[in-house]
Symmetry: C2
Subunit: 378 residues, 2 copies
């Protein structure tokens, strides 16, 4: 059985690694010839509108999935006419447009921040008058890792924000004072069966995910599952999907969905009975889903820009290292590590200890030690 993957970044790379033990073979497709997935599976380098190359791929594989949610919908629709494609393309249309996405959440009775469409400069003034400040101006499409967003705190911020983003369709969202950011990774099989991973509690730095804690028996778990179930069933979704929320009191407010495996689920490689990558493959192949249950307790730390020195990391107890085979670049996700501890151990203390280690480049996470409930230096 051969699976085609559109996009050959680290998510595709980890899908491939989870698929080899299942006896699967892969082909990847990415416009970037240096995409890191090419180190682990054959890569076709071609543009997303190279219909000939796409048709040739469809011909060589049994089904196609994607690891990059900004692949053009037209690319996936073209492939879907030739070969099975999961998740099916319509969910991409929604996930790629913040307006469409929020309208979908509202239709499914899932809370969202207040928002207004901003197409012209005068819409921005009116939206700020209506929603108040602070607020966040976002491009409707192609935003990720904090890109395509500007926070407006004072009326004087509007012009600069418009200059930065005004060439694209926008929405203005009320900036809600949340207590924490959480995400739920879930899988749905072709038979409608679902598996929900434990909620992850996420910490960002400069708009980029740095730390995900897998939550044990979190009080918001069932609410997150209920909202996620609505989205999965609405799209008759097949595969893994991640749903990001803001927690405000005992409410979950929808931020966004990602119709793919997700950075906040990487801890599951070691920390869950079945990892998100294996469950995505099981789902799209029509195979039984695996249990998403926790093994011990886990936290994942992203390495941004460059990898820390190897030896101290490999010596660190209970730490599992993942390099993505990428060259260093500012803001680039180049690897991650998962700290997986026995259930009886003190995870907050171990994390604090790790962040205070010299030479690991994790000093900027020391703040989380005070920031987060339950994380105290050991």
């Amino acid at each position: 059985m051969k699976v085609g993957i559109i996009g050959a970044g680290q998510l595709g790379r980890m899908l491939v690694m989870a698929g080899y033990p299942l006896g699967l073979r892969f082909e990847m497709f990415d416009p970037n010839p240096r995409a890191c997935g090419a180190q682990v599976a054959p890569l076709t380098t071609a543009a997303f509108d190279d219909w000939q190359a796409l048709a040739a791929l469809a011909d060589r594989v049994d089904l196609v999935t994607f690891e990059f949610e900004n692949v053009p919908v037209a690319t996936m629709e073209f492939l879907a006419a030739l070969v099975d494609v999961f998740p099916r393309p319509p969910v991409l249309k929604t996930a790629q447009d913040r307006l469409r996405e929020k309208e979908c959440f509202r239709k499914l009775d899932i809370p969202t921040p207040d928002y207004l469409v901003v197409d012209r400069r005068e819409d921005l003034t009116a939206a700020v008058a209506s929603l108040g400040l602070p607020a966040v101006l976002k491009t409707r499409c192609l935003g990720y890792d904090g890109k395509g967003q500007v926070i407006l705190r004072r009326p004087g911020d509007l012009d600069a924000a418009w200059t930065a983003l005004g060439t694209a369709p926008l929405i203005l969202e009320a900036l809600i004072p949340f207590e924490r950011e959480v995400s739920l990774v879930a899988a749905r099989g072709g038979d409608g069966g679902m598996a929900f991973y434990p909620l992850a509690e996420n910490t960002h730095r400069d708009g980029i995910l740095r730390l995900s804690l897998a939550c044990v028996a979190d009080p918001m778990q069932l609410k997150a599952e209920e909202y996620t179930r609505r989205v999965l069933e609405h799209f008759a979704y097949v595969g893994v999907l991640a749903f990001e929320f803001f927690q405000v009191g005992d409410r979950l407010v929808a931020n966004e969905i990602a119709p793919r495996v997700h950075n906040s689920g990487h801890w599951s490689i070691e920390g869950a009975e079945t990892c998100q990558f294996a469950n995505h493959l099981r789902a799209i192949l029509g195979w039984p889903l695996g249990a998403p249950d926790l093994w011990g307790q886990s936290a994942m730390i992203n390495f941004i820009g460059e990898l820390p020195p190897l030896a101290p990391l490999l010596k660190y107890p209970y730490l599992h290292y993942h390099a993505y085979g990428k060259s260093p670049a500012p803001g680039r996700k180049v690897g991650h590590a998962t700290l997986r501890l026995p259930s009886s151990a003190n995870l907050p203390a171990a994390l604090a200890d790790l962040f205070f280690q010299k030479d690991l480049g994790l000093e900027d996470l020391q703040l989380t030690v005070g920031e987060k409930k339950g994380i105290q230096p050991g």
Copy 2:
């Protein structure tokens, strides 16, 4: 960093999969163009005495290891003159020859079965007269999975055994009435640091390993570690090595060493903090070894000949499935599954339940339920 692997069977394949998260790249070398490792990394197909192809490989990689202990010593010596090779070739010479191997064990004061060299037909008669029957006649070289061995039970068996094996140098070993077969997988780094996995208790069928149980706090652990340490230090070994023993009362009698990752260590992929494949790579790269400690309790079942049907296997709780991407053939190792349970669970009962499942083709292991201490139907 790029690692060359001589041999591209399932052991090489699993080395590659353990190495990708460490950011490593690989090239494999095997005379068989359909070797299953070729599905996960680039393969050079050439003979083990194709010096030009070997030199070209050495030129493209940073170091070389092997996954197949019957690679000619001359091949590894040729490579070692061009590039770092670990484990270093001399251990191969010993491991490839049962006589040399047993002489080494004796020198290191490690018990072995009584044995005698058999080069001519009359040596066989004399050896049987000396060691008695039953005994086992073995080729000194190239034996594996029960091949190259004949058990002699009665004097009338000698002629047929000689006809079957007499063209090769042989040894006759006393057949010792052992209680169980165990193996120790160990890693030694370039700095002399060592990691010992928990003993595995092994069950064979038709000379082929079928079941390995990772032993929790086994009373023979320290003795096995001591014997293995002697071998590792004798060779200034770098990499993973497996040592197979027969247990007779509270004695361990050496059977053989394998200077490579080993089938009885596959459970470590899920069942240990660091798997044998990752530790082999860490050792040969001069990186710190990872902890070999158990996570929960594990048992590994080999799939021989053909893979069982997928759906019931994937539904089976706590079961981790590994297909090697090989075509079916009698006696061929085509995959394995590891049952990894929480420490509090009843592993013997879960194993018995698995063996009694219809359609999994594990009926021949039902006997182990009665055979083994501690394994009772659930």
